[in-house]
């Protein structure tokens, strides 16, 4: 669907992250191009969030490189962060601020000014359907609205890259649908990474899927290719097969 000749916007090479004795990410490499929506799959504790935090510049890699639009994340963290819109897991927010105050703060820090800034904030509020809560403080919002404000903050500066850690987690089916539609609408103009537990989501919004377990990359391909590995046409079963097989092998290695 995208031209393979175009230079990737994200290049990740042998990424490693240790937290003391814990090896959270163990040598992950992949690239991402504009227009792609990458679904990050894996069991809990697989290293999905850690990898996303490293790309967003919140954590520093122990080893390996991350390059975003040609900028190295360690050499040019500020340039990288300008290109990225990031929704952290659970969408943490400054509870005492109102929706408008919060978005204005983000616009300030993103260096947006003048009329275009006002217009953009208004546009995002309309797009994400935040009109009815715009003057409410964030701590009084429901989970769904909080998540939406998180999404609004991530797309406010119209970033080239969108990274969302479990954007639909804890939402009701309607809200999930809304968020997915939103991601699909924006997909062609951006490079998107989302992490999820919900395999149907991969089928619904992603053009590519990556499975990681215990910090290692186990599968990288289109959802159709993933499905083709299945014997009964169920993504859930393929996922279970790939990850448990890997864990079993790891167990054997450790035992020997």
């Amino acid at each position: 669907m995208t031209e393979k000749t175009e230079k990737p916007v994200i290049e990740i090479n042998s990424l490693v992250k240790h937290f003391g004795p814990i090896h959270a990410v163990r040598g992950i490499s992949f690239t991402l191009r504009k227009g792609e929506v990458l679904g990050f799959l894996g069991p809990n504790g697989a290293g999905k969030s850690t990898t996303m935090k490293m790309i967003a510049g919140f954590l520093e890699p122990t080893a390996g490189t991350i390059s975003v639009c040609g900028y190295d994340i360690l050499e040019n963290p500020i340039e990288v962060k300008k290109k990225i819109g990031y929704l952290p897991e659970g969408a943490p927010l400054y509870g005492e601020m109102t929706v408008t105050a919060f978005l204005n703060f983000i616009a300030d820090v993103r260096g947006m000014t003048g009329k275009s800034r006002e217009d953009r904030i208004e546009e995002v509020i309309q797009k994400i359907n935040l009109q009815s809560v715009r003057n409410q403080t964030l701590e009084t919002l429901s989970k769904g609205y909080k998540r939406r404000v998180g999404v609004a903050h991530a797309i406010l500066h119209d970033p080239e890259i969108l990274i969302m850690d479990e954007p639909t987690d804890g939402l009701d089916p309607n809200q999930k649908h809304e968020v997915r539609t939103l991601i699909k609408e924006m997909a062609s103009e951006k490079a998107t990474i989302i992490s999820t537990h919900i395999l149907e989501e991969v089928d619904a919004v992603c053009t590519r899927a990556i499975i990681i377990a215990s910090g290692k990359l186990l599968f990288d391909g289109t959802p159709a290719e993933l499905l083709a590995k299945s014997t009964n046409g169920k993504l859930d079963d393929v996922f279970r097969e790939i990850t448990t097989k890997f864990h079993a092998e790891q167990g054997m290695l450790l035992a020997s």
Binding site: G57, L59, E60, I78, P92, L93, Y94, F105, D108, V109
Partner: protein, 244 residues
């Protein structure tokens, strides 16, 4: 500069968006009054100055400033908003400086609200107002020193209670480093030059000297260097957490 301004604005407004600001200011003013009039014997002294007022600032700050500073980074870590802040295109030092300045301005507001004290003493007599002004500046500088320590400690932990207690202890040591309590510990074995150097780190010594009405460049440099050092340490602490 824009980043510092934006974060400063957000932080400063946050104090007043929650009861924190009002509770702090009321307690601050109340305790100031109690100390000045009852313990400091403001009236009984029959002198037109604010010495009994400023005398207790270091001791009030010892507990009140760490209470302001403890939330600076701990709270962000606890609620996860630090992930929002640190993934915005803002260098760490700017975030540290902006948060510190917001807290410092907030203490300045509390300090300015003690103005009825100044009016009272001017109504009752003819105090030397330059001494009072110098004391206010000295008090604010000292508050900045306490805040910088508290901000750095707050960056280490996501537990605000730990941040508070550790900050109080470190502030206490800095406050008293000119006194036997701290100096005796070093006197036995350290060379005299080291003991003198430690003694010169005392908040109290420098505040006392400003309180006399002369802002000596050395006292000014002391407080500014102290603030810079702790804020630098604060940046290092935050950066280190990134490397996990």
């Amino acid at each position: 500069m824009n980043n510092i301004k934006a974060i400063f604005k957000r932080e400063f407004a946050a104090y007043f968006a929650t009861p924190v600001a009002y509770v702090f200011i009321v307690i601050f003013l109340f305790l100031m009054g109690v100390f000045t009039f009852y313990i400091g014997a403001f009236y009984e002294r029959n002198q037109a100055d604010l010495e009994p007022f400023f005398r207790f600032h270091p001791w009030l700050y010892l507990f009140l400033i760490p209470a302001i500073a403890m939330r600076l980074w701990s709270e962000e870590r606890k609620t996860g908003t630090i992930e929002l802040l640190m993934t915005l295109p803002v260098p760490t030092y700017q975030a540290v400086v902006a948060k510190f300045l917001a807290a410092w301005c907030f203490t300045a507001v509390a300090l300015v609200l003690t103005f009825p004290m100044w009016i009272t003493v001017n109504y009752l007599g003819a105090p030397d107002n330059t001494v009072i002004l110098a004391s206010y500046i000295g008090s604010l500088l000292m508050a900045g020193g306490f805040l910088a320590i508290g901000s750095c400690i707050s960056g280490i932990t996501k537990n605000q209670v730990i941040a508070f207690v550790v900050s109080v202890v470190i502030c206490f040591l800095f406050l008293l480093s000119g006194f036997p309590l701290v100096l005796d510990f070093f006197r036995g074995w350290a060379p005299q030059a080291v003991v003198n150097a430690i003694a010169s780190f005392s908040f109290l010594t420098h505040f006392e000297s400003i309180k006399k009405g002369v802002i000596d460049i050395r006292d000014l440099i002391y407080f500014l260097a102290l603030i810079s050092f702790w804020l630098y340490a604060n940046v290092v602490v935050i950066e280190n957490k990134k490397a996990g």
